[in-house]
């Protein structure tokens, strides 16, 4: 077979065997493709698909590690318990407050920073490098920086500067607690937003701006009538990534809430974490985490609908 094809390629090859050889090659290519992807698929399935199924299973059980003998199938009771508890809904509300404010502020700030990085006459390289620093900093570290700057009993410079004699990050001051969490989140993730928007800005052709300028459009009009519409896909992708990420917020709210003990800034992820790992109630905790998963899927679906054909993952 080998020799035959080799012999044929040197002479004028008739059409039919060539086709046969191609499909042979195509089959080998397929096999190689699957083989190369196999390890990645196995790891991803083993460590995410299996646990999520296990999580769904656990959420249907009464499974409390403190009372292992009482484990039994109880159907959707855990979900009913979670969805009728005021704690889930208030934590959901708090998560949404953090999400809406931080993503909105990030979008505006990120756009401003992207414009500076794109248009500034000088200092672009410096700005680009320095804005990456928050991205690189460990979230827990960033959260401590903000917590310690605001915490009055721990000598934060902000309460000191304003002469406050109360602690803005304790339970008695939920609004300032929210402000600090939102600031920490905005600080840490705006660089990512700015970079995605910058990539979008680079796609807007300069000639359009020049033409509009000649026609007498102001910078403000050009921004809203040219830049924003052309950047819509980039903006939606950036919003999608950040919204899903912000809904899962855990690290900064946990640290700024002093290891999850400030109930006024408890998010749904902290609720799930506390149920699972502090109260060791695997059944209820799993129900909470499955609900978080469903919320994230819903957020993704809403955005992908808005994105239309510019879905990430399609070449």
């Amino acid at each position: 077979m080998e020799a035959a094809t080799a012999g044929r390629t040197t002479t004028e090859t008739p059409a039919a065997p060539k086709k046969h050889r191609l499909s042979d090659r195509a089959r080998a290519e397929r096999r190689l493709g699957w083989l190369l992807c196999l390890p990645a698929v196995i790891v991803m399935v083993a460590v995410t698909a299996y646990p999520i199924l296990y999580s769904i299973y656990l959420s249907l059980l009464r499974a409390d590690l403190r009372f292992p003998d009482e484990r039994e199938f109880i159907g959707l009771t855990n979900y009913v318990t979670v969805l009728t508890s005021s704690l889930w809904w208030s934590d959901f509300g708090r998560t949404m407050i953090i999400l809406v404010f931080s993503v909105a502020i990030e979008l505006v700030l990120g756009m401003l920073i992207a414009l500076v990085m794109h248009r500034a006459i000088f200092g672009r390289g410096l700005v680009r490098t320095v804005t990456l620093i928050p991205y690189g900093i460990v979230t827990v570290v960033a959260a401590y920086a903000w917590l310690l700057a605001w915490s009055q009993p721990n000598g934060g410079f902000i309460p000191h500067m304003f002469g406050w004699d109360f602690d803005p990050v304790d339970q008695a001051h939920p609004i300032t607690s929210f402000v600090v969490v939102i600031l920490a989140e905005v600080w840490k993730t705006t660089p990512f937003m700015a970079l995605l928007l910058l990539a979008g800005l680079a796609l807007v052709p300069d000639e359009l701006h020049e033409a509009a300028k000649v026609d007498g459009a102001s910078a403000w009009q050009r921004f809203w009538k040219i830049t924003v519409p052309l950047m819509k896909p980039a903006i939606l992708v950036a919003l999608l990534f950040r919204t899903m990420d912000a809904f899962r917020i855990f690290d900064s709210a946990y640290i700024i809430g002093q290891n999850g003990t400030n109930p006024k800034i408890e998010t749904v992820s902290i609720l799930g974490y506390n149920q699972l790992l502090t109260r060791l109630n695997l059944g209820l905790g799993s129900a909470v985490s499955v609900l978080i998963f469903i919320c994230v899927i819903l957020i993704a679906l809403i955005f992908i609908k808005g994105l239309g054909t510019n879905r990430p993952g399609e070449a």
Binding site: E29, R30, G33, L36, C37, P39, A40, V41, V43, M44, A46, T48, P51, I52, Y54, S55, L58, V116, A120, G123, V127, R128, T129, V130, L132, I133, P134, Y135, G136, I137, V138, T139, V140, V141, A142, A145, W146, L148, A149, N154, G155, G156, H160, M161, W187, L196, V237, F241, F250, D251, G272, Y273, L276, S286, S289, V290, F293, A300, G313, A315
Partner: protein, 278 residues
């Protein structure tokens, strides 16, 4: 008149640059300042230390909890990065170059996993790891990091690999290179920047994790720095640990700042690769 307007524009952009720098740097400078105060001054509320001291750094390095955590962080992040990048390179090569059904499915499920809320698998993993003896071990953290690092790595690498002019490989072979030479002398140098970028992003991702580290470890055997920070003891039983936390925070930040400063361009390219073109 014209130079005046030009000066005004330069001034305006200067202010804009300055504001961005201020926004990015103030919290970092604050934590550095805090780490340089003496333990007694940590709570004095001053922006800059009254007297500068390295006491907090001394304290941090003399605590086993921190040195062990630093070792764990480096080891776990490095091993996870190497494994993830090798496995992802194979998959990304296949997706970028070969034609086979199921490609879109693999990319789609990778995206699904990237969106996945980690809290949803922490509970089952905690339970499974305790039964399997993986709780509080290096593999117990490396495995979940792999599953979340892989989608990121596959996406970024696929984007980079698609841009490699693969015809060069055949061209080299026509010029007399063996397939092995063509691969190592032509393709590897072209692919290296993408692989390096992906490694940095994956490393930062593993280095940054707090949720898995605090849920799946409990002792110095596998606890990483972010998890250890949240449980830091003070210099004495009655003093707050924040001076030590600040010093430890500065130490874990330094390697990442170095990476970011050296590889700024690559990181920007990598971060936007998956999202915009993907």
């Amino acid at each position: 008149m014209d130079t005046e307007r030009r000066n005004l524009r330069i001034f305006g952009w200067g202010v804009a640059d300055g504001l961005v720098l201020l926004f990015a740097l103030v919290p970092v400078l604050w934590i550095v300042s805090l780490s340089l105060k003496t333990p007694e001054q940590v709570t004095d509320g001053r922006v800059l230390p009254a007297t500068w001291s390295l006491d907090n750094y001394d304290a941090v390095f003399s605590q086993d909890i921190f040195t062990a955590a630093l070792r764990n962080s480096f080891g776990i992040a490095a091993i996870a990065t190497v494994i993830a990048v090798v496995i992802a390179s194979m998959a990304a090569y296949a997706i970028a170059r070969l034609n086979f059904p199921g490609k879109v499915l693999i990319l789609g499920s990778a995206l699904m996993i990237a969106m996945f809320p980690p809290i949803s698998i922490v509970g089952p993993l905690y339970n499974m790891w305790r039964n399997l003896g993986l709780y509080d071990t290096w593999p117990g953290l490396i495995i979940p990091y792999l599953s979340f690092a892989l989608p990121l790595a596959i996406y970024t690498l696929t984007t980079f690999f698609r841009e490699i002019p693969w015809e060069l490989e055949q061209a080299a072979q026509i010029d007399g290179a063996t397939p092995f030479q063509a691969f190592t002398k032509v393709i590897v140098p072209l692919a290296a920047p993408g692989v390096a970028t992906t490694s940095i992003l994956v490393f930062i991702f593993c280095w940054n994790d707090f949720l898995f580290a605090s849920a799946l470890t409990s002792t110095s055997a596998a606890q990483t720095v972010p998890a250890a920070l949240a449980q830091f003891p003070g210099a004495s039983q009655f003093s707050a640990p924040y001076g030590s936390i600040a010093a430890a925070a500065v130490i874990v930040t330094i390697p990442i700042i170095i990476l970011v400063l050296f590889f700024q361009r690559r990181i920007v390219a990598g971060l936007t690769a998956g999202a915009v073109k993907g």
